[in-house]
Symmetry: C2
Subunit: 599 residues, 2 copies
């Protein structure tokens, strides 16, 4: 192997006449009898290399043997193409290399799929041959984008004097939050480390240590049942700062997002970003990560309909629920009665019993299965409430408020997609603030932290922590982009007493709190500064910036929905001896079938 003089992509007409040595992959090969053309590809692009009658017989013979994806080295002269043969579609289209030497560095047999085209492939095949899938231009570009995102974020945080610091991966299992991945200890028999769900406690301890500005692009782990957009290991941009209030932190994040979008997508995003409280987001959009690139806001008509003749609406309100609706504009003609009735199935996914609808058929008139329950003035009032006109369809959810939010929130997103209401290339950032601090967990019979137990209550709600915990709002903020939650953070509790109150509110006994978080409570007594932070999901951020819809496409070696790696076949069984060293034994659960048999 010689030293490469240039990469394919950097060659231009400026090098015409120069002798160059290139190395790369055969992207395409065309044999025209006396002349062989090869498109040579490397990480920077590709260029046409030509073996014509001037070349040695040996070189021509070699060129004759190479096939797609062979790795070759060629030396030759850069030549300007004649006008008729210029290829304006590629960056190097005005030049070509007239080769005089070729070496095959490695051969390639036929690939299981072509990497030269963006064909749709079965994802399992792509994951098994991930090393080939990553050769495809779009995957290559996504990985490159990911590394640029990372570099830009690091540079910006460095400018703001944030220090990159590492926190442990082998850490302590805690009962709060999602399920931990456990790592058995060989030295401490019967003991386990846990892989971190986030560096939360350690970054807070770094604030106690006085570093003031910490960041880390950290791998995190959650052993949860996976959904399409979840991975057992994921990467977060983890940030924590002392003496920096919520507003200053949010402003910094806004400027980071603006720069990212500008440098990577060329789009100027205005600021400051909108802020919605949690209540406002839910009531207007039925979602705590609302997509506000389109309207279709929720309206509460509980008051209006509580005395209507429609039992379903009436009893929803009587039972402490609500009636809410949205107006989907101009779809009346495109959706038959059957189509609209079928949306009940969609609504049921979100826990609703059904989905009521009305077509607006005139300035003061609605029609549909439930129209008969509304007198003329009520029909008019509804039309006014939703600012509706002929051709619109109103949808209603009458249920507990949570269900009404969920159904209508999902419905507006569904229609926005179906009706193409979203302008492409829009980056719609916003903050959702003042989440509830706690929510009651019916199953466990106690309150659970909405974010985590270290989130600070809004100052004026602190007094309610003991008596009315459900009314306490958190000093928390989620960053939302185009309806995706990019990340979230909060100001933290930094006083021992308040942290203890929080643990009490969560139903921890003093001993439990001490056993799990004693070191944090101790730390709070030695001069802990006010601090707060945020964590962004890097995988999702890259996904949106790359214009992709599959989170796995942003990760070089992702796992499937069953947490397997199809490339290496992980996880796998291990030798008995290894388990013995760990004092562990696998005790397989009886399969359901066998259980059934035995009964």
């Amino acid at each position: 192997m010689k030293l490469r003089t240039h990469t394919c992509g950097e060659l231009t007409e400026q090098q015409v006449g120069a002798r160059v040595t290139l190395q790369g992959w055969v992207k395409k090969r065309r044999d025209l009898g006396q002349v062989i053309f090869v498109d040579l590809r490397d990480r920077t692009g590709h260029i046409q290399v030509v073996f014509d009658s001037d070349v040695s017989e040996e070189a021509l013979k070699t060129a004759d043997q190479v096939r797609s994806e062979y790795v070759i080295e060629v030396s030759g002269t850069v030549v300007k193409r004649s006008e008729g043969t210029v290829n304006p579609k590629i960056a190097t289209g005005t030049i070509e290399i007239h080769v005089d030497e070729i070496t095959v560095l490695n051969a390639a047999k036929g690939l299981p799929f072509t990497v030269d085209e963006e064909s749709d492939l079965n994802e399992d095949v792509r994951l098994k041959y991930r090393y080939l899938d990553l050769r495809r231009q779009s995957m290559h570009d996504t990985m490159k984008l990911r590394s640029r995102v990372t570099k830009l974020i690091r540079d910006m945080l460095d400018e703001e004097e944030f220090m990159e610091m590492e926190t442990p991966m082998l850490t302590k299992s805690t009962p709060e939050g999602a399920r931990d991945y456990l790592v058995p200890s060989r030295v401490h028999e019967g003991s386990f480390y846990a892989l971190p769900q986030s560096p939360q406690l350690f970054k807070q301890l770094l604030m106690v240590s006085g570093f003031e500005r910490y960041y880390q692009i950290a791998r995190c782990f959650r052993d949860e049942d996976l959904r399409a957009d979840r991975q057992p290991e994921f990467t977060q941009v983890d940030i924590e700062a002392s003496f920096m209030g919520k507003d200053q932190l949010m402003a910094m994040m806004e400027s980071m997002m603006q720069r990212l979008v500008k440098e990577l997508a060329g789009v100027e995003v205005g600021g400051p970003f909108k802020r919605l409280t949690y209540d406002e987001a839910m009531n207007r959009y039925g979602s705590d990560k609302p997509d506000t690139r389109f309207g279709m806001e929720l309206h509460d008509i509980s008051e209006m309909v509580k005395d209507s003749g429609f039992k379903v609406f009436q009893s929803a309100v009587e039972n402490g629920g609500v009636v809410k609706g949205i107006n989907v504009k101009g779809i009346a003609d495109d959706y038959s009665r059957k189509d609209l009735d079928e949306l009940s199935t969609f609504a049921k996914v979100y826990g609703a019993k059904g989905l009521a609808w009305l077509k607006v058929t005139g300035p003061e008139e609605v029609k549909g299965p439930i129209a008969k329950f509304f007198e003329a003035p009520d029909q008019k009032a509804l039309i006014q409430e939703f600012d509706a006109e002929e051709g619109d369809v109103l949808f209603f959810a009458a249920d507990k408020i949570r269900v009404a939010w969920d159904v209508l929130g999902a419905l507006r997103t569904k229609f926005a997609k179906e009706r193409n209401l979203i302008e492409p290339g829009t980056y719609d950032f916003l903050w959702v603030t003042q989440f509830p601090l706690l929510s009651y967990d019916e199953e466990e019979g106690r309150y659970a932290a909405e974010h985590h137990p270290f989130t600070r209550p809004v100052e004026e709600d602190v007094d309610k922590l003991v008596e009315e915990p459900e009314k306490v709002r958190a000093e928390a903020y989620d960053l939302v982009l185009n309806g995706y939650e990019l990340g979230g953070g909060s100001q933290r509790i930094f006083e021992r007493e308040l942290q203890e109150q929080m643990f009490t509110a969560l139903g921890f006994s003093e001993e439990e709190a001490r056993a799990q978080f004693g070191f944090l409570l101790d730390a709070f007594e030695y001069g802990t500064p006010p601090h707060g932070g945020i964590a962004l999901g890097l995988d999702r951020l890259v996904m949106i910036l790359a214009g992709r819809s599959n989170l796995r496409d942003t990760i070089a070696f992702p796992k499937t929905a069953s947490a397997s790696c199809l490339l290496t076949n992980a996880p796998s069984e291990v030798e008995e001896a290894k388990l013995k060293e760990l004092s562990l034994k696998v005790e397989k659960k009886k399969k359901d079938k066998e259980e059934a048999k035995q009964q």
Copy 2:
């Protein structure tokens, strides 16, 4: 809390007259009756703040209550100190803040140790209160240095067009190398992931994918019995490149090291770095990571002494061993016969049976217990061989070559320290190349890879792989700094056939090779470029640059020698239910005592 207008460290006489708000920790407080002085510290430095008679009574009362490590906020005016009160020892020593407002942001009780002085502390206490230990200036500085090292490395690799890419942490257990940390899978009953010992296979697959230039600052894991300078999790700067020969890669690393040392230590290091082959390093220095900041090289005197009257030397050579020695200059007067005899104990640690020595007492004369075995001409020859003079002491190891290397290698380092032969502030970089590819593992009865099974043999040795595997040299290179191995790398095998030969040489059956590394062998058939890389131990690099000797001091939250975290008490026992979910049961081994009882 207000917004801070400045940090303590950035204030200079330029701000005299300005009103500022500062936040930080009370480093020291001196109460002089009517005036209270507080040294306020933040991440950037510290400054004197003064509460004098002008201040409100309330503020004075508060100032009277604060103690060391309280977190406070002060507002006041920057004032130039009068000449007599200037403190030239601190950066802000010409100014002080005349405070008019003070708020206690958080109190602090008495710390378990003072963070204001660099006192020697028991390391267990430091680790238990790591968040306080990290407040100490030297630890703070080391962490800052670490983040600067990281940033510089990233920037340099970015300039060289290396892409940062992430590889999985939950990966496949492999039988080669050190012991893996295992992670039980909940979804795949009885199966385990392994935490990576390095991203080796994935970075090679990224080369197959055509990224050409990859880097990652990656966490790696080894479940080994720990030594002082080992951690169960450690961080490596992981680099891999295609189409970049060994020399180009080494040159790039040299320039990276030169820039790091220049920017962080202000020292210019010349280049290119020395290169020693493994044989040369061992024969001259008795170490594959030689410290060449001092001489004291090993001399082989096997030929010279094989017919001497000294049985020990004679039989060592007859049994296929060697006799080697070093000359420690000018120590004869400082080391008594007893001192020198006692060095045998030191030698035995390295497997030697003893350590022979001779004092040089004249231009042609040596004395000592074994002097009588050497005739006058032989004494003279010895003196000449070692270029010795009166006052020097010669030490000899007569043993298997491996033992002779180890003993004398350790001895020269020991004397270099004892005799202060090392000039401080020297950065002595060198490469050790051409390591043996394989070494015979007596226990396992087969060859094992010295680096790993993907290391490429030196081109002219490839033919010996089957017949004389022990003679094959590796295309590997270790980077050594001041006697520490900073890292190592190699050019890799990229041809399926050669990789298969390597697995055969390692005693893998075809099935075993297929089961473990089938995906890699497959990948090699689809157009794999020539590639190679290197990995640097970040923890150790920082340790040397920080002038420290304890690896744990370079890690924010390290583990003890028994792999425990004294701060969080990880690892710990977990609830039975969690293990049940993983289909695991802990089966404690019987303690040795109990076993003894039962016998």
